[in-house]
Symmetry: C3
Subunit: 355 residues, 3 copies
């Protein structure tokens, strides 16, 4: 018998202030980008075309915001969520410097809070993860909280510490590492004529299309990010589990919803912040994902006339078209088809920047 | 309600002379090449090996002809065929300068013809699409015609304009951007001993192998090309549709047939022209594709002793081996297993160029 | 009718001393690496991160040992194993210079032995394959033997020649093209704290996790390597065959077992030699692969204090967890769930090299 294998941390292993340096640093390449395109079909021009990326002041097409997020997130799984029952939420997410092919990302997490659950067998762990490039520049950082199994039910509960989390990232704290000369952003090539000014708070957009998920697809995606959470990969075990089948990585749905949102938000080319996120129901291979978005807020960026931000709430649904913007039932509970509610800031060119 | 989403053009939206600048410019990378190889298994040496590509006068391995075609075609889908019922045919296709990884392709289409159908609910639109690289050099251009839904059945029929299309691209108009020194082309490494002279007009070749298609594969391929046609992706809708399931992108079959044709045509390393193409029957995941080719014509190229061209008719079949070269029944109708008839020019080295 | 297609060699076509120059040279790219990561989820830091690869003395992240092997192996299939009934074994495998993206590999094989089987319809062919880069440097070479069909049952049996094969590659003959400065190897980033000294001969490691295989995955992998063996791809034929379905390429299981072995052997970042390998039972899509490893031997490398080698026996299982290290029944026969027994040398950093 050996103790060389990792079985992940249990609730008792976490303490406030703990720093977790996660393995495997990952050089992101154009190969990863091609797979991400093949898996989600995103069509945002800035990430698809280096000449178009030059129009927003970048040397070449950057790595898609959510691909960066998944790479950074994936590293944290073996240390944080291998024994997790559920990924409960995200908050206070910020995107930093753009990532380009050839950059290497790594992740360090800090435990912000712990709270034993009353059932005695689980607890909630709050962690802040910071993804960095090879120059130690922040590429994305965010807080998430997960429900984790205890190793031993009888172990003593730690002092409860629940971190104070902002309801949303303040628009004035966002940075947009893009610079667009007047009229440099060509909306014929981007596929959508709408600038930032064309969106109104309260406006809801049905992203129309639906995308069915296959087992091979969600497993290839999770492995690409080196996300090793077991529930995604092992049908031999999951067949006996809660759902009888493998569960799709929640982040897969964020990427699908984001790709679908191109139809209606085609100029929202990057995420700048993540305010909140919740995986409401599990998703399985065979499910078809639809999405709609509401413009929750819109703000300028300090000192900028070329770009500005929209706060979006994007809702993903399984096997239910997004017409009518379904979300909750009359009693206020999520509809069973709702799988994701995601609240985030996106950057768009202003009319001044568009042609 | 918002009008920010694209729902595609309907028959009434097209008029002769109309120019459509398609979104999303796309930088093609070695990542795309790897996915294309993984999806189709093509083994042509020129596109697989940069040292071998040097033997035909290229600085590095070029992007496969059909991958270029799919990338250019994919961009035209949101504007031309999102509401199409069927892609009826291709004609007058020409390949231009080679594409290399790092090049960015974009597509502009011009409407050549419109013709209302007698049923009152659909019409045929003829468009010529031109794919360009970042230097505005033509990489591939072709005409296709599609049957498109009308928005309103009662709308007036436009004047019928049907463009004159050549039965085939003239061999003397083809350009071969390859140059092979005498005996530079090594047929041991290319896997096939036959030079252009070894093929005879009328010769038929059974490509022997069969390849079964999975849902994940054809969806990944179509998304890689940013081809957003809905029938490929949404099982929730298609389950209620004509066929009860997702339809494989017709171009997927062209690429499979082309990859299968390596066995028998291993030195036909690039397409120079597309004379005609027809998707005869739909293909679904689970179908196994076989292919055979007939040499319809063979021609030298003006002023060239190193390369020459074959005109091929390649027929793809589902769930039927190609032995015996099945195509039509006694009444002249396509057999139900025939899924593609594709007429095109390929370039091969001459004996002088081969060792 | 044409004779231009290849139908593969039959037993009668092989003779001792025969040299087979295999088609298609293949430039390996970062796109191939991304697909390999997406298909297997390997997390070894040296192949995942160029900055980490610099810690072992490499200019950038090298291509994973087994991806190199599969590329070299794939080329040999059309000439050696297209008509094979079974891949019987591997021996005397050595890895040479590291391969980097942009390198082009090609393969030449030499027939070492032939032996007709008593059934009169098949024979065993022993071949040694050598994979080279574009500078003719050896990247991997190995001997394998396959059972091949005879073209004609009545053909005369050749003189039997069975090559002498080593039971294992001698540790003192291995070369490790890596150089680690004292304490340069960061075990926090590699995800495993154990140096070479921490492993004991006889130690068995359960790699814990299981990975279910999908049809799209194993076909994409085999096509990526341009491995054209028909049994992997054609459901229309295989449905009538021995097993009623497509067979997963045996090498796929080696790569899955290797990726799973990261959990327990996270610092075994490259293979240096292959002693023996046997595909014990066939694997099909839907099977879940588990793995365990035994440390069979451990040896220093001549003149090296930074790295040393472990001889491992890795056993892969289908639909059976590896706890208890299942292998054979009481009568000494392989258990039906055992699919692979693979005996090989891996390189690890010593304590001196680790921090």
């Amino acid at each position: 018998m050996t103790t060389k294998t990792q079985h992940g941390n249990f609730f008792e292993d976490f303490y406030v202030g703990q720093e977790l340096v996660h393995a495997t640093p990952r050089t992101i390449t154009l190969g990863d980008v091609a797979l991400y395109t093949a898996l989600f079909g995103s069509r945002f021009a800035v990430v698809s075309s280096s000449p178009f990326a030059a129009r927003v002041g970048l040397a070449e097409a950057p790595i898609d915001s959510m691909l960066v997020f998944h790479m950074v997130f994936g590293k944290s799984v073996p240390d944080i969520s291998l024994n997790a029952i559920a990924n409960l939420g995200y908050a206070d997410g910020r995107f930093g410097v753009p990532v380009f092919s050839g950059d290497t990302v790594s992740t360090v997490s800090t435990v912000l809070g712990v709270k034993a659950n009353k059932d005695g067998t689980t607890g909630v762990v709050y962690v802040r993860s910071r993804g960095e490039n090879q120059r130690a520049e922040m590429v994305v950082e965010y807080t998430r909280w997960v429900m984790v199994r205890k190793r031993v039910a009888s172990s003593a509960a730690p002092d409860t510490v629940v971190p104070s989390l902002p309801e949303a990232v303040l628009a004035e704290s966002l940075t947009a590492p893009f610079h667009i000369a007047n009229a440099a952003y060509d909306t014929r090539l981007s596929g959508n004529a709408n600038a930032w000014e064309d969106y109104a708070v309260g406006e809801c957009i049905d992203h129309v299309d639906g995308m069915t998920i296959e087992e091979a697809e969600h497993m290839m995606a999770a492995r690409l990010y080196q996300n090793s959470a077991r529930v995604h990969f092992n049908q031999h075990v999951e067949r006996e589990g809660r759902f009888g089948r493998r569960i799709v990585y929640g982040g897969h749905i964020i990427s699908l919803a984001r790709a679908l949102s191109f139809n209606g938000l085609g100029n929202a080319f990057a995420l700048l912040g993540i305010n909140a996120g919740r995986h409401v129901n599990p998703v399985f291979a065979g499910d078809t994902i639809y999405a709609w978005s509401e413009v929750v807020d819109k703000q300028p960026l300090v000192g900028r006339s070329d770009v500005a931000v929209l706060r979006l709430r994007t809702v993903a649904l399984k096997d239910l078209p997004a017409a009518g913007f379904p979300l909750r039932d009359d009693a206020g509970a999520y509809l069973p088809n709702v799988v994701l509610e995601f609240d985030y800031w996106v950057v768009l060119p202003t009319r001044l920047a568009c042609r």
